[in-house]
């Protein structure tokens, strides 16, 4: 904590609390030792134990065999579809989720609370229901599909359908991570930038964007990670054709249908490894962005710079 009021990707109330806590050096939770012990036990039980079991199971196969499974033509195609569609979905949400978050924080409008609640719906809806609904909407005779298909755009039962389903499922991640951060940027900062002569574009690029970029990356990473593992909604809209629209989780299910638990575990471990590498690089990028911003001047100074006035 550098004392800067800008914390990234944290809910607002947490950010405020840590701020006051730092000021009083008073801790609400019991001592460090107990809290750390609890954290370790909790994480071990919840995450490390199942993951460890999985990796142990997969290690019954040699590295060569795991690679054989992972590098099969169908597996490779499925990895491409899964990671490609997840990346696209997360990217789409990074752009449009940002707009939604911005509108929800910055502008009062009638029905705002309702819209705000809508954002959480993809969290609450059983994913299979989402998949079936989307497939019905985008099928050739669906409400949307009937207009898209004459234009030559097929959504249901194509890889594009996978992207649509994943975009739907992962929307809340980006919006909910961005909202508290945008709330923390006071409008005065924008006004200051404007009064110092910065254009709207300059204010956005040089003042606002650097402040929200780390949170945007967090939202992107969360959305991406969620999308990679998604099964329920995708299988109903994907079409599931080998080499074209099969996702990796479907191949895992297919292995389980053959009672091939080992093969399924091997695929899962490879998928986990790939996801881990991707998430780690996003985290590094975020760390770098946050650091760069933190080491630099407060927003007011950035605003001044943006407008070309030296402080």
């Amino acid at each position: 904590m550098s004392g800067s009021p800008y914390f990234y990707g944290q809910p607002e109330f947490l950010a405020k609390k840590t701020e006051t806590m730092a000021a009083k050096t008073h801790r609400v939770l019991p001592g460090f030792g107990l809290a750390l012990g609890y954290t370790l036990v909790y994480l071990s039980l919840l995450i490390l134990l199942p993951l460890g079991g999985m990796i142990l199971k997969a290690s019954e196969l040699g590295f060569g065999q795991i690679m054989d499974i992972a590098l099969g033509e169908r597996s490779l195609a499925a990895f491409r579809v899964t990671f490609g569609a997840s990346f696209l979905a997360a990217a789409v949400n990074a752009v449009f989720g940002l707009i939604v978050a911005w509108i929800l924080v910055r502008y009062p409008f009638p029905g705002k609370r309702f819209v705000d609640a809508l954002v959480d719906l993809p969290f609450a809806l059983p994913t299979a229901v989402a998949g079936i609904t989307l497939a019905t909407l985008y099928a050739g005779n669906g409400w949307l599909g009937q207009y898209l298909e004459p234009l030559g755009i097929k959504v249901a039962y194509t890889p594009l359908g996978i992207v649509v389903a994943l975009t739907f499922i992962t929307l809340p991640f980006v919006v909910r991570t961005l909202q508290p951060v945008i709330e923390d940027i006071e409008t005065e900062v924008e006004e200051a930038a404007a009064s110092l002569g910065a254009s709207r574009w300059q204010t956005f690029v040089k003042v606002i964007f650097p402040a929200i970029f780390p949170a945007l990356l967090t939202g992107f990473a969360l959305a991406f990670a969620r999308a990679v593992g998604e099964y329920g909604s995708v299988i109903f809209i994907a079409g599931n054709l080998p080499l074209i629209s099969e996702i990796t989780p479907l191949l895992i299910i297919s292995k389980l249908e053959q009672y091939d638990v080992l093969g399924a575990t091997a695929l899962a471990v490879v998928m986990l490894g790939l996801s881990f590498i991707l998430l780690l690089s996003v985290n590094l990028l975020q760390w770098w962005a946050a650091n760069r911003h933190r080491n630099s001047e407060p927003l007011e100074v950035a605003a001044a710079k943006a407008s070309g006035v030296t402080a």
């Binding site: 079936i132 497939a135 050739g140 299988i235 109903f236 079409g239 599931n240 080998p242 479907l250 297919s254």
Partner: protein, 332 residues
């Protein structure tokens, strides 16, 4: 909070009470769409068993994808009996030692109390003139089926087409695989499951032909009305079996062997057979088959054992990784 606790207590109480009221309790682990069959069958058996032995019996049902269900039983779900839609699933339990090795001989008719057949559902008036498997492989025809590798329904379709191709003049495995390649090219998608395929065909109006169980055709009629489609019986199709077995390990532990055995045997009784017929499953009982002949037109069928040796052999040759299905998509 106290409200919550109260409701938990009442649930626990009612569980204890129902267990205390019944003299014995059986868990039937079953495939997904068997719900309707056993919903009607269970009260019939309870009445029969009460009259015969004086015992009241509690019957619990668990439904889900066939393979998933079997895996749960292998992992320790205490099912007294399994009633499945694929022989290789019970075969798996036999390998694990949970079910007798000769389970198929423990009951009549290959331990399958009723059967069905794979049929074609086409649009009203059959605009693409689909009469047999060859017509579906023709260019410009679209076929809707569930994933052949991941669903029993899809596998039955695949094997039906394979067996038909084998029986054509000069037919052999290579030619059958070539035919399946042509057939699968006409699948614009593989549905997630049997019901999903039905929705895709009937509601989203995709494809020219849906291939599914004969019993499913009646479900479609109930759901979407009879006016929209026709049922076509191909020249040769698979007789699908629904094998049942007692889970030896569980009944020995729970002491429910007698009840479990009776529960499955009763499926072959007049009442049990009639219940199957009313659910549009072909009864084994010849008289009842005649009585319900309007629902079950004659069709030339084969069994998996006849053409492929056994369900497990068919699975290994065609649906395991690297099997004929994979070879069609991945030339290696």
């Amino acid at each position: 909070m106290s409200h919550f606790r109260k409701s938990i207590a009442s649930v626990l109480l009612s569980l204890v009470a129902s267990a205390a009221l019944a003299d014995a309790s059986l868990l039937n682990t079953s495939y997904d769409v068997a719900r309707d069959v056993y919903k009607d069958y269970n009260p019939m058996f309870q009445k029969y068993w009460k009259a015969k032995s004086g015992e009241s019996i509690e019957l619990k049902q668990s439904h889900g994808g066939s393979t998933k269900q079997v895996r749960a039983v292998a992992d320790g779900l205490e099912a007294d009996v399994v009633t499945m839609n694929q022989a290789n699933d019970i075969e798996f339990l036999a390998e694990k030692g949970l079910v007798a090795k000769d389970w198929a001989k423990k009951f009549p008719n290959n331990a399958s109390p009723y059967t069905s057949a794979m049929v074609f559902i086409v649009r009203k008036g059959n605009p693409k003139a689909i009469k047999d498997w060859a017509d579906i492989a023709a260019p410009g025809v679209q076929m809707i089926i569930p994933h052949p590798k991941n669903t029993g329904n899809g596998r039955n379709t695949y094997l039906s087409a394979w067996a038909w191709a084998l029986k054509q003049p000069g037919g052999n495995d290579a030619k059958a695989q070539e035919f399946l390649g042509k057939l699968l090219k006409n699948a614009p998608l593989f549905a997630a499951g049997g019901r999903d395929a039905t929705t895709t065909f009937m509601q989203r109006k995709m494809g020219d032909v849906l291939i599914t169980f004969e019993s499913e055709a009646e479900m479609i009629a109930k759901e979407f009305g009879k006016g929209d489609f026709e049922v076509i019986y191909p020249s040769l199709t698979m007789q699908t079996e629904f094998p049942v077995a007692v889970v030896e390990k569980v009944v020995d532990k729970k002491g429910t062997r007698k009840q479990a055995q009776a529960y499955l045997e009763y499926l072959w009784s007049k009442e049990g057979q009639e219940n199957a017929a009313q659910n549009y499953l072909r009864p084994r009982d010849a008289e009842l088959l005649k009585k319900y002949a309007a629902n079950f037109p004659p069709v030339k069928t084969f069994t998996v054992d006849e053409v492929f040796g056994s369900a497990s052999k068919a699975f290994a040759a065609h649906f395991k990784d690297g099997g004929s299905f994979d070879q069609i998509y991945v030339a290696k």
